[in-house]
């Protein structure tokens, strides 16, 4: 153990590389890598959003040509271009609809939420928040983002191979996904499996970096219980991911072998067992939900104290609760399978663990509310989105209780009630949490402020349109509408629900349109936004102690940490905040 390591070695200052390629493409700087993750996430968000648009179009007006398709000449639709092949004279055939919802789920979970909440936020914030010069393994970090880039290219290619993209749902249940003849998709599904497996490998590498950096590279004085919640949650998410994804990587290889090598792991006719895939998928899939969700919650938990000017309520309790939620998340997976034909005696224990897991999350929600209680609350855009996380997540949590108890779930399983539920939870984390984070840390990332007025318009537009879209979806689900059907009008009992479907679709289009406000704000502020000072929000955590944007080496001198991250309105101090790195005695704030 004689080799140099630990904080001193990693804190050596290296000059920034000069060439464009080394500086912006193959960079080992965690801040550049975070921006690369952000770019990948925003690109896929557009693709995922477009697929959502087509899905909602089809559900509101099944078989009608998509709006705008009439602008293209008849000759185009007679042709054999990719678009003309996918949409028949502008309308969406059922086979293409299957691809749309499959890719929508895959893209949004694996290629938007994870790159945004873990890739971009984790990479950007962990070294800055722990006071390090970079990640513990900068080159591994570069490898992880480029692995994701390769996975992205493969997924993108899968749209255009013969047979088109995967069409077996984002959960890829066999035998539909295991036998090419069943879904008439061959290479699309193979490439899907390869892309998803590479994505897993990418985030495994990222997670190793997150954990090692947090354990080994913390600034002097930064004990574990002085870490910002964001760092805690990123690390817990990394552990959850690391301990759950392995079996699914093995499962993806097995499914690929079923498709390519003639094995029958999951094909009943060859002696295989489709349920095995469901177990492998959801053993990963449920922790994965929290992998995405808790960094989004962390964004809200970081922002709420700053704009309430109050310490975070129950810091340690939140950390312990998240440990508990993380542990429980490994023993709830079969609640996705109440209707799958597994032994019904398993339903009860999995119902119980599922209901139990709402306790730590309820605790987190109460901690958020208690943080606000009696605070001096300000409402800039990040705060609005953080409050959006709170409001939307409560809704998602409550509908989760219905899904979690087996007797209720048997009725609503695979209906739009479930779709509404997971959009309320994941939308809360990814969309509201993600936007809260972008509005809050944009100044640190790019050195300029986002426009607050446009931000507020964006928030209210998003918040109202989101609820208008997904609240009625619960009703459609309770009315019995199954998810993944291409044409609700084919079913007599769904006819009365069609006006609601039209309403949901129109609301969804309004929701998508509202995101243009963000796009304009993002690019306009990038070049012409007001320049940000080092600490525009008067926040305590270490990332605000350095310049905006931070220099290549992050900190001119590594800060020393004197206290926890949420000392707002402390007694005996003139200002209403007390940064982690500021010594109290003899310091500029040691007055009053």
């Amino acid at each position: 153990m004689s080799e140099t390591s630990g904080p001193q070695a990693a804190h050596a200052v290296h000059p920034a590389p000069q060439g464009f390629v080394r500086r912006y493409l193959f960079s080992t700087d965690h801040k550049v890598i975070a921006k690369q993750y952000l770019a990948i996430a925003l690109f896929w968000a557009v693709v995922g959003g477009l697929s959502a648009f087509l899905i909602r179009w089809q559900l509101a007006w099944p078989g009608e040509p998509v709006i705008g398709s009439g602008l293209l000449p008849e000759a185009f639709w007679d042709g054999d271009s990719w678009l003309a092949q996918s949409l028949q004279y502008g309308s969406i055939p059922a086979e293409f609809y299957n691809k749309l919802f499959t890719m929508h789920g895959t893209i949004m979970v694996f290629f938007v939420a994870m790159p945004l909440l873990l890739g971009a936020l984790g990479n950007f914030l962990i070294p800055l928040m722990v006071g390090a010069r970079d990640m513990a393994f900068p080159r591994l970090n570069m490898l992880s983002v480029w692995t994701l880039a390769v996975a992205s290219v493969i997924l993108l290619i899968s749209f255009f191979v013969p047979g088109g993209a995967a069409a077996s749902g984002w959960t890829a249940y066999p035998p539909l996904s295991a036998v090419p003849e069943l879904s008439e998709v061959n290479w699309g599904q193979n490439l899907w499996l390869i892309a998803v497996a590479l994505e897993f490998a990418s985030f495994l590498m990222g997670g190793i970096n997150f954990l090692t950096t947090t354990v080994n590279l913390r600034a002097p004085g930064l004990s574990l219980f002085r870490l910002p919640i964001m760092v805690w949650f990123q690390c817990i998410a990394a552990v959850l991911f690391m301990l759950s994804v392995g079996p699914l990587i093995a499962g993806a290889v097995m499914l690929l072998l079923d498709r390519l090598a003639g094995t029958s792991f999951f094909i009943p006719s060859g002696g295989g067992e489709p349920l095995l895939w469901q177990h492998l998928f959801w053993f990963f899939g449920h922790p994965e939900v929290y992998v995405i969700m808790i960094p989004g919650m962390a964004a809200a938990l970081e922002i709420l104290p700053v704009f309430s000017r109050k310490p975070l309520f129950g810091y340690r309790l939140i950390v312990y609760a998240t440990f508990a939620a993380g542990f429980l998340s490994f023993i709830v997976w079969a609640h996705h399978m109440f209707q799958s034909g597994m032994d019904p005696r398993l339903a009860m224990p999995f119902s119980i663990t599922t209901i139990l897991i709402s306790v730590p999350f309820a605790l987190m929600v109460f901690a958020m509310i208690a943080t606000l209680w009696g605070g001096v609350i300000r409402f800039p855009t990040p705060m609005l989105f953080a409050l959006g996380v709170l409001g939307v997540f409560i809704m998602g949590g409550l509908s989760g209780i219905f899904n979690g108890s087996a007797p209720a779930d048997i009725y609503i399983h695979d209906t739009y009630f479930v779709v509404a539920h997971f959009h309320y939870t994941l939308f809360a984390a990814t969309f509201f949490g993600g936007f809260a984070a972008i509005y809050y840390w944009f100044p640190k990332m790019f050195g300029r402020m986002l426009n607050d007025t446009l931000g507020k318009i964006h928030f209210w537009w998003t918040f109202i349109a989101f609820n208008a879209t997904f609240l009625p979806m619960h009703l459609v689900g309770l009315g019995g509408m199954m998810r993944r059907i291409a044409n609700p009008l084919n079913y007599d009992f769904l006819q009365p629900l069609q006006p609601l479907n039209v309403w949901i679709s129109i609301s969804a289009f309004v929701l998508m349109l509202g995101q243009l406000v963000f796009v304009v704000n993002f690019f306009w502020s990038l070049v012409a936004g007001r320049r940000a000072e080092a600490n525009p929000w008067q926040a305590n955590t270490l990332e605000w102690s350095t310049a905006s944007p931070p220099p290549h080496h992050n900190f001119d001198t590594i800060p020393t940490v004197y206290r926890g991250p949420y000392e707002y309105s402390p007694p005996g101090v003139a200002e209403d905040w007390l940064p982690q790195h500021r010594p109290l005695v003899g310091g500029p704030a040691a007055t009053a």
Binding site: P220, G246, G262, T263, F265, G270, Y562, R563, G564
Partner: protein, 195 residues
């Protein structure tokens, strides 16, 4: 107001970053192999007829291969011990032996596969053969990966350039022992449980 005292710089776990990262990596590997092994066990218990299929496998060959892999773990440790003594010539010798033994293992495995396939026991033949090829294939890929890493270190040692990266021998060793241990699970599960 919380405590104002600053703590020492000491990390929570006094382990070098590289080793810590390696342990995290191995943790994820344990779950990967764990998942496939548990799946195999469940299937195996549900299909008693797999006994007869497993009986086709050659225990003597697999025993030989087990010895090869265990010996390679020994040579890996000796290479690490030589690093500690700063004896680069010995490091090269032991690494070369480790690489050679790793290659022997893969070649013997390839011979076994060829033999089974020639006898018509292809991956799609039954569930057992699917698991057999899947598990031993995944393991063999891990062996090959370790061979490549050890070969890189060997080249560095031969060119007398090992010194600045000598601590990597220990990391490669951790990985190599892990691959060895996985085989210690696969060997009885696939070859020996025939009764």
């Amino acid at each position: 107001m919380q405590r104002e005292a600053t703590h020492a710089v000491a990390p929570a776990v006094p382990v070098p970053a590289a080793k810590l990262g390696m342990w995290w990596f191995l943790a994820s590997e344990i779950v990967t192999f764990g998942g496939i092994i548990v799946a195999y066990l469940v299937f195996r218990l549900a299909h008693p007829q797999w006994l007869e299929e497993a009986a086709h496998l050659s225990v003597p060959i697999a025993t030989f291969n087990t010895l090869v892999l265990l010996t390679s773990s020994l040579t890996m440790v000796l290479a690490f011990a030589a690093v500690d003594r700063g004896d680069e010539r010995r490091v090269a010798t032991w690494l070369a032996l480790t690489v050679a033994l790793g290659l022997v293992f893969v070649l013997v495995k390839a011979y076994e596969w060829r033999h089974e396939i020639a006898a018509g026991r292809v991956p799609g033949e039954s569930g057992f053969w699917g698991f057999y090829y899947g598990m031993t294939g995944l393991h063999a890929l891990h062996v090959l990966g370790g061979v490549v890493v050890n070969a890189c270190l060997l080249i560095a040692a031969l060119r007398r350039r090992l010194e600045p990266i000598a601590h990597r021998v220990e990391m490669a060793g951790l990985y190599w022992h892990f691959v060895d241990i996985v085989w210690i699970f696969l060997f009885p599960l696939l070859y020996l449980s025939t009764h």
